[in-house]
């Protein structure tokens, strides 16, 4: 079965650079990977089964726990899917839409900051971790000021938002975004032209655009391969059509390009938040909920709705039987699950230490992979 030089090792599930409980079965020849086989399911909690047994509003806290470093976007995808099912997408007040955009863009920055910290620390650069967590902490404080939670936000409701913004919140956000570009320059000064960083990332895990689409890859990995596709632009939701932003695209489809794409995405998110602040100030205070029936009982039908989460396309497929207050079936299309599938193809022929970089560059969250 095995050549004399080949051996099989377990990478994980208890390994710091697997970002959770991912296990990769490796067949190696010395340091070189012949075959990698991800084994998942260690964090499976049956979220889809739970969704079938609770009313729609009760599901929202459970969506927090899938991609637990980007819970605002998880909430957003779910509430929008239910709103689409009920046909009330157009009824959401503008203030609520802008607040949703602000929260999800803050969440995108915080998720990318966590990705940068862990990705860099996996590759051996310790310092960015301390820098990025400084900014991430400020974002978590902003979340805490809005909804009381820092990680599992549960910050959106079907038909709008749970609460209006606290006094001075927008000014705090403006103070944060005002300094954020400077912080990004600081991270880039540590990594972008760093010779070791480039040696570890340039040319590692190259994905061609055709291959990326074939594997169903979305989000920064797809854009890193040169496909200009962002759901905020392609199939816009909420207020995105009226906001100005660029979709950064890579060229070579390697780990370094995906790094550059995410860095630029953070700048774009910062700019989106800055555009939203004056717009949200112009809306009437307290107008945050659509006037809908308190009991959520959507008509019979099925919808698939997806949003651009920090990791890629996050979709919810909901089937309603039209009689009860809970979904007949709610399937989640998690970006991490699909993106992780390409890991064997990307890792083949690389060294074990590159596998660490590849897991980092896909940016998986196991809570979402396993649900």
């Amino acid at each position: 079965m095995f050549d004399v030089h080949e051996m099989e090792v377990n990478f994980g599930p208890q390994h710091p650079s697997t970002h959770g409980v991912l296990r990769v079965l490796l067949k190696i020849d010395g340091e070189r990977i012949i075959e990698a086989k991800p084994v998942i399911g260690y964090l499976h909690r049956g979220t889809e089964k739970l969704f079938e047994h609770m009313a729609y509003p009760q599901c929202i806290p459970h969506t927090d726990r899938m991609d637990y470093v980007a819970s605002a976007t998880n909430n957003l995808g779910f509430v929008e899917a239910v709103e689409k099912l009920m046909g009330i997408t157009k009824m959401i007040p503008r203030r609520a839409q802008l607040m949703r955009v602000i929260l999800s863009e803050l969440q995108r920055i915080s998720s990318h900051l966590l990705w940068l910290a862990t990705h860099a620390i996996d590759i051996g650069a310790m310092t960015p971790f301390f820098y990025t967590f400084r900014e991430r902490e400020q974002i978590l404080d902003l979340f805490e000021a809005y909804c009381g939670a820092r990680l599992t936000l549960n910050c959106m409701r079907i038909g709008g938002m749970p609460d209006d913004m606290p006094a001075g919140w927008l000014d705090d956000i403006a103070a944060f975004t005002g300094k954020f570009d400077e912080a990004l320059d600081e991270y880039e000064s540590l990594l972008t032209n760093n010779r070791i960083w480039k040696r570890r990332t340039v040319g590692i895990g190259v994905l061609s655009p055709e291959e990326a689409i074939e594997w169903g890859i979305t989000g920064p990995p797809l854009r890193g391969s040169g496909v200009n596709w962002d759901l905020r632009r392609a199939q816009p939701y909420e207020c995105y059509p009226e906001l100005q932003f660029e979709v950064p695209v890579g060229k070579n489809g390697d780990t370094y390009d995906r790094y550059l794409v995410r860095m630029e995405e953070m700048r774009q998110s910062r700019s989106i938040i800055d555009q939203c602040i004056p717009l949200v100030k112009a809306t009437p205070a307290g107008d945050i909920k659509a006037k809908i029936s308190r009991v959520i009982r959507p008509p019979e039908g099925e919808v698939y709705h997806s949003i651009e989460s920090p990791k890629g396309e996050l979709g919810y497929y909901i089937i309603s039987d039209g009689k009860t207050q809970n979904a007949y079936r709610c399937h989640v299309r998690p970006p991490s699950f699909v993106n992780l599938q390409a890991l064997p193809a990307m890792a083949k022929g690389h060294l074990i230490s590159d596998l660490v970089a590849l897991i980092g560059t896909i940016d998986i969250v196991l809570g979402e992979v396993d649900r």
Partner: protein
């Protein structure tokens, strides 16, 4: 920014003002899908439209070819593939399981959904040869629902472990889970797991722990523990399905026509205008019978009216408006 109380909500009609539904043929002739569908017109047996999304039901045997056609017509991105157990859906007559394929075309920037129906024993042709990404999706569908895929290179469990007995997303799989000891060590444990009937607990083979660990633990009162567990199991009633309970109980009656959660507060108060204080309090509740306060809606109203509780803040789904109405009513009384 003070919270302004919005005016009482008028219950909105949930369904969007939809244009008249198109016929199956019209949907199949939609410019989005017509080219792909006309390659094999009869393979698409049904077509539906909801919320602007087109769902095409495809003959099970032909799904791989139809997928290939759609891919060549620009739908080169398989977004998602998942299974559905329709066995508890009222009025469903087709075979038990459905598999939905969400396709997306970068060129057209449009989505379309294909669907096939199958039962427990009939395999669906795999689309892994069409899109590589279908591999894990089909494995997950097999794992969660037990749907077989013909031609899949590696159809094994993905989220549950190999040897797990059951498919969790089937509608007859209990939400509490099952005893999972059984299949992993079939030589040690009888099917179904748990202690063997009539076991004394003296023999390692009788109980649901791993053989090798038995000696180091010494003599555990296994029979006793097993008995307690079994007793505990029989005592616990199954968890109530909250939404179903609400749907069953929260219905208007002749005495309480306001007991309908879809009415607005003002409408409910109007109905209870002539009633007693208890009736008015009852009408002010959210009418979901959610029991978050410790009673159903009527019970809480009665408790307030009789003075059993002075706390007017317990109605969770009613939020601010119920609370302020209760305050008004109680202030009017004293």
């Amino acid at each position: 920014m003070s919270e302004t109380t919005p005016p009482p909500a008028k219950p909105a009609t949930p369904a969007a003002a939809a244009p008249p539904a198109r016929s199956v043929t019209d949907i199949k002739r939609d410019p989005l899908v017509v080219v792909a569908v006309s390659r094999d017109w009869d393979a698409v047996t049904d077509a539906k439209e909801f919320a602007g999304e087109i769902t095409l039901t495809v003959q099970r045997e032909k799904i791989a070819e139809v997928s290939r056609t759609f891919k060549s017509e620009g739908f080169n991105y398989l977004v998602d593939l998942c299974g559905v157990d329709y066995s508890k859906l009222p009025g469903h007559t087709a075979p038990r399981f459905g598999v939905s394929y969400m396709l997306y075309s970068f060129r057209k920037n449009q989505r379309v959904r294909l669907r096939v129906f199958t039962d427990e024993n009939t395999a669906v042709p795999s689309v892994t040869s069409v899109w590589k990404t279908a591999n894990w999706h089909e494995r997950e569908t097999f794992d969660m629902l037990g749907i077989q895929f013909d031609g899949h290179p590696n159809l094994e469990r993905i989220l549950m472990w190999e040897g797990f007995n059951g498919h969790p997303l089937r509608k007859d799989f209990p939400i509490r889970g099952i005893d999972t000891g059984a299949r992993i060590y079939p030589e040690v444990f009888p099917p179904g797991g748990g202690p063997k009937p009539g076991s004394t607990g003296k023999d390692a083979k009788d109980v649901n722990i791993f053989k090798g660990e038995w000696k180091s633990y010494g003599t555990w009162p296994i029979a006793e523990i097993a008995g307690q567990r079994a007793a505990a199991k029989t005592q616990q009633p199954p968890a109530p399905d909250l939404a179903a309970v609400v749907a069953d109980t929260a219905k208007p009656t002749a005495e309480a026509p306001w007991h309908n959660p879809e009415l607005a507060l003002t409408q409910r108060m109007e109905m209870a205008k002539q009633g007693s204080l208890k009736d008015k309090l009852f009408a002010a509740m959210a009418q979901t019978d959610c029991t978050a306060c410790g009673w159903d809606c009527e019970g809480y109203a009665e408790a307030i009216a009789k003075g059993e509780t002075k706390d007017l803040t317990l109605c969770v789904p009613g939020e601010q408006e119920t609370e302020s109405m209760l305050n008004q009513l109680m202030a009017g009384k004293t």
